[in-house]
Amino acid sequence: MASSRGAGSQQVIRMADLEKMSLDQLKAVKEQADIEVNLLQDSLNNIRTATGRLENASAALHDLSLRPQGKKMLVPLTASLYVPGTLDDADKVLVDIGTGYFVEKTMSEGKDYCERKINLLKSNFDQLVEVASKKKTLADETGVVLQAKIKQLSPSS
């Protein structure tokens, strides 16, 4: 899960500073802020996708828990090859916890794991949304000051 890298190079830029900057500096600040906003939006999208996948996993688990043992099912061997089989023990599930490690858990522990991950992602998402909206306000403010400056300079030239 990527953390926001902008933390190290964040500068508190106030309106007063923006007014003092030249046209070129303002343009640079706006471009930088726009790039950062896009990066943050991408991260937000990634988190949303991951949360969706986890919720699918959670739903699948729940569905699995409803099935009786011995139920006939089709087992995927490849993306296009399914083989008939029977459901063995639906109470034990293998959970991928990352870096190639898998843990055997019970059905309820597995559901709990999904819940925990979804909550973690949701809190990351909320934190990122805050940072992203602050950056967006900065980008917008810089844009406004830039426009005002351009207007200021053009009637006189």
């Binding site: 916890i97 190639g100 490690y101 055997e104």
Partner: protein, 128 residues
């Protein structure tokens, strides 16, 4: 005055060399950032795994994916492996930090040197 013309050309060559050095430094800094990002992500993932492993009972089954094979692992061994990996990645990150600082210092002094050479070129052109 051919001597000042050659001096000027030398200064310009020096400027080119310094500019090349600067762009190499910038590429190195960018690469440093990339590797740093990769390691930071891996560190985060490994810490998550460690947290999960800590929540397990002594008798829980842990498996590691080695190629296409899922191999049963001892919980203690898995813990030790993940911890060692975390230590290694943290050490690498620290090393990258110090080399980044070094590169940024070199970049800064290279920029100053370039500025000086440019000033000398300007002075040379003004005289000729």
């Amino acid at each position: 005055m051919s001597s000042s013309a050659t001096a000027l050309r030398e200064l310009q060559r020096d400027l080119e060399n310094k500019a090349n050095d600067l762009s190499k430094l910038q590429k190195d800094i960018a690469k440093n950032h990339q590797v740093r990002k990769k390691y930071t992500i891996q560190l985060g993932e490994n810490e998550l795994v460690l947290k999960e492993l800590d929540l397990l009972n002594e008798d829980a089954n842990v498996y590691k994916l080695i190629g296409p094979v899922l191999v049963k692992q001892d919980l203690a061994e898995a813990n030790a492996n993940v911890r060692k990996r975390i230590e290694y990645i943290s050490a690498e990150l620290k090393r990258l930090d110090s080399s980044l600082q070094d590169l940024e210092e070199k970049q800064h002094s290279k920029r100053e040197a370039i500025l000086k050479v440019q000033q000398r070129i300007q002075a040379g052109k003004a005289k000729a």
